[in-house]
Amino acid sequence: MDARASLQRFVLDYLDEIGAEIRDEGGVHAVLFPTGFRRRYGRERRITFDPEKRREQVEVIEAGSPFLKLLLTDAKAWGPLSVYPTDAYPAGSRFYTFQLEAYSSARKRTRFAWALLEWGHNEPVVHEGIPPVFDARPADAARASGDLGDLRAGLDVVMPAIEGMGRAFAQEAVAESRDAFAKSMERVGDYFKSLHQDTHLEEARIRKRLGEIQSKLYFTEDGLRELKLQREQERLTDELHALKKKHTQAQETMSGERVKQADLLRRRHEPKLRIRLIAATICRAPKAARPQRTTQATLLPVGNSDVASGEAAAAGGA
């Protein structure tokens, strides 16, 4: 799906939905908001989808633009369940839209997926992306009630397939996390190894000196020198003893510390997969067309629309 085209379609459809007036002035759209939305969006805005038309007081709608963010937030507060008019699938078919997020320690990956449970079928079909039925505006805007119990039950049928898809999608994150964890552990290992080496080097230095003293003591005939060497030998023996003790303590601490570090790293690098159901939809025949099959969907009375109810509608459910 072309992102820019999708954005444009979304924004214009959204503005139309809330009853905003839009005037196209050669690629720049002047939008006049209905009264109930003015505290939220202001009275009037000028927007464009073409970055080349960027100028004073004209907001370019692109990913990250503040106005788009407002609209997205408000649209996301609208209902996740619907009885949807479409000819694409038999009435009573259900489809579920999911957002999959795989986290490695390095990055987050996002993918959308949807599962179709066609009327009369027990096996779901899963696809990447969002359902193509949402590419265009619905065939009619009538709000209908439906058997949500049936919709709920269908979810249990599609979940295993979606989880399977999620796991496959998360493989890359798992591998990335595993590599990052291994690298981190290697660094931790090197660090503790160097600490061990430092202690061993110090011990070796003292032992070497003790050997030298031992040898000198063997050959010396000078009483005073012998005394001096003996004192140094005693001092070094004490030092070696203290070093060994310290070494043993440090070993214990380091081993505890190492376990702690490894645990910390494991948690930090643990890959995660999050599956979010963002919408569940049950199909019905468009209002004008004759239904293919009988469904439980019932059209609500005309006039139930709350399009003009202003801010409460925009923020509703938030």
Partner: protein, 566 residues
């Protein structure tokens, strides 16, 4: 693996209109698209400001994830104003904000103007300007929120659309029953930033009120908020914390010092007092009597307040004001003023100037000296030059170019910068860490602004603050009793406002002190009244402590920062 959203059915929402349902799905998808660019205007100010990652991240999040409507709730001293400035600049640069209204407490109006002009190159008019023609007459206005809420102004504020509304110290909007809240809730603006270091002060409903301004409905109605998120009827304990955090992340940014690694070095305070000479005390007594007499007959006059403060500075400063009074028709006391001028002119020795000379010899580093008066500034420059020190004056009458040169010379080669308060707001002098208060303003915010020039992000040394006073004078009392009580010199940057706001008095501390001094017929009354003010200040300090503690307790349960890994 976690699976979410299955509760959609448990809440059993009614089926949605097909068109809205479709838009919801599209919105979920489009909301995951990554923005292409970062900040487009950053090149215009990056040389003037040291930007920190948490500030840039905060601004990006406000713009890209919060729709330009947010509460900037960083802990004090992390640069909320900078964050707001980045967002403002970005909206201006993208051509999205032309009409901008900034509402602040009265004492911060000037500071906001200086910061935005000096750091971001964005000019504003303020309601204090002589050429201010009303809230409907200028595209960009900085004003005191209390001025804006006045009936005649409120109508003009509400009568137009604003692109961007910024409310500083937004905790003043904690209660829905106030005129301030009513005004802000009615202003129509596309973008909104509320700045506060203490989003909650007494109970959690204040948080609801604040969020309701930014994103009405995000936390439900007041009743559903109570039911869902409050664990007690007093509104002091939370429940469903993780759900609340998710919602708050959509509107609040709260960076903590410990997460940013930008903790401030400690402040060390030294007070140097000296016994004055006979003539100095004589001048003090005579001036006190004169002010008291004038106050009895004419009531409060700015010139009397000025004189009272100049007493603590230098005879030179006093002489100038007395001469001005003599020339004006305001005060009829010719012979008395003549006597006072003669007395001041006869003074050859200025004890505090001698004291600072001694101190200056001991400093092994650059230092700042603050005075409130130009005449005292001249006196000090002369004294320092006699000592062989390279002393640079800095005051509000210098042109922008000369100000820049003065600061640059101080940074490069000079020993001491002698500043008056006017014109020094917004300076970044963190390359220096010694501040001498030659005389003290009675407005604690001003004192904090002085210290804030050096005790700010980027300061690498402990900051030394030296206060000078003449023993047994009014300033000695104010310094030791009042300022010590509110720990003026020690509290973290930004906390002073919290303490002072707890005084809840219509009058500034400065005016309260002056009135006590001028109204008291004798020293005993003066002391009694000052002791009562001290008690009020103590209460203010205690209240501020409580507020800080409660706010910290509440926000310790959330992670709303913008620092990676925090």
């Amino acid at each position: 693996m976690s699976v979410e959203g299955l509760t959609l059915f448990e809440d059993a929402p009614p089926p949605e209109h097909p068109s809205r349902h479709r838009l919801r799905v599209l919105a979920e998808y489009l909301d995951t698209l990554e923005p292409k660019g970062a900040l487009v205007a950053v090149s215009q100010y990056k040389d003037k400001i040291s930007l920190y990652p948490h500030q840039v991240n905060a601004a990006l999040r406000v713009l890209a994830k919060m729709g330009g409507r947010a509460i900037l709730g960083d802990e004090v001293g992390l640069g909320k104003t900078i964050e707001a400035g980045i967002v403002l600049k970005e909206l201006v640069a993208r051509g999205l904000a032309e009409s901008i209204l900034i509402l602040t407490p009265a004492n911060l109006v000037g500071q906001w103007r200086v910061e935005l002009e000096d750091k971001f190159g964005e000019a504003f008019v303020t309601h204090e300007d002589a050429d201010f023609q009303g809230f409907d007459a200028h595209p960009r206005i900085i004003a005191s929120i209390d001025t804006a809420k006045l009936e005649e102004n409120a109508a003009k504020v509400l009568g137009r659309d604003w692109d961007l509304l910024i409310v500083d110290e937004a905790h003043y909007l904690k209660s829905r029953s106030t005129l301030r809240y009513e005004l802000v809730s009615k202003i129509e603006s596309k973008y909104f930033l509320g700045l506060t270091a203490t989003p909650v002060q007494n109970n959690l409903r204040e948080l609801f009120n604040l969020i309701h301004l930014v994103r009405p409905g995000l936390l439900g109605s007041a009743r559903t908020f109570d039911r869902r998120f409050l664990a007690d009827s007093e509104g002091r304990r939370l429940q469903n914390v993780s759900e609340l955090q998710e919602r708050l992340r959509e509107v609040i940014i709260r960076n903590r010092r410990k997460d940013t690694g930008l903790d401030f070095p400690p402040r060390m305070v030294r007070t140097s007092s000296a016994v004055g000479n006979e003539k100095e005390y004589e001048l003090h007594d005579e001036l006190r009597d004169f002010i008291s007499k004038q106050y009895d007959s004419m009531g409060f006059q700015l010139s009397l307040l000025l004189l009272q403060r100049e007493m603590a500075s230098s005879p030179q400063a006093v002489i100038e004001t007395l001469k001005r009074m003599q020339a004006s028709s305001e005060i009829v006391a010719g012979p008395e003023i003549d006597e006072l001028i003669k007395l001041a002119e006869s003074m050859r020795k200025v004890t505090k100037a001698d004291l600072i000379e001694k101190l200056a010899k001991g400093f092994k580093t650059k230092f700042l000296v603050y005075t409130q008066f130009r005449r005292t500034q001249e006196l000090l420059i002369q004294r320092f030059k006699k000592l062989g020190l390279n002393a640079i004056p800095f005051h509000g009458e210098l042109s922008p170019g000369r100000r820049r040169n003065a600061i640059e010379e101080f940074r490069q080669s000079a020993d001491v910068l002698v500043l008056t308060d006017s014109g020094s707001e917004g300076l970044n002098l963190q390359f220096c860490h010694v501040v001498v208060n030659y005389d003290l303003p009675w407005n604690p915010m001003r004192v904090e602004q002085r210290i804030g020039r050096v005790h700010r992000i980027g300061q690498a040394h402990d900051v030394l603050i030296v206060n000078l006073s003449l023993k047994d004078t009014v300033e000695d009392y104010v310094l030791k009793i009042l300022y010590d009580k509110i720990r003026l010199f020690e509290v973290a940057i930004g906390e002073m406002d919290l303490i002072l706001s707890e005084l809840e008095s219509g009058e500034s501390l400065e005016k309260q002190v002056f009135e006590i001094l001028a109204k008291s017929k004798n020293r005993a009354t003066q002391k009694r009244k000052l002791a009562s003010l001290k008690r009020k200040l103590s209460q203010g300090v205690q209240e501020a402590e409580k507020v800080k503690k409660f706010d910290a307790e509440v926000f310790s349960q959330f992670d709303l920062g913008t620092v990676e890994g925090a």
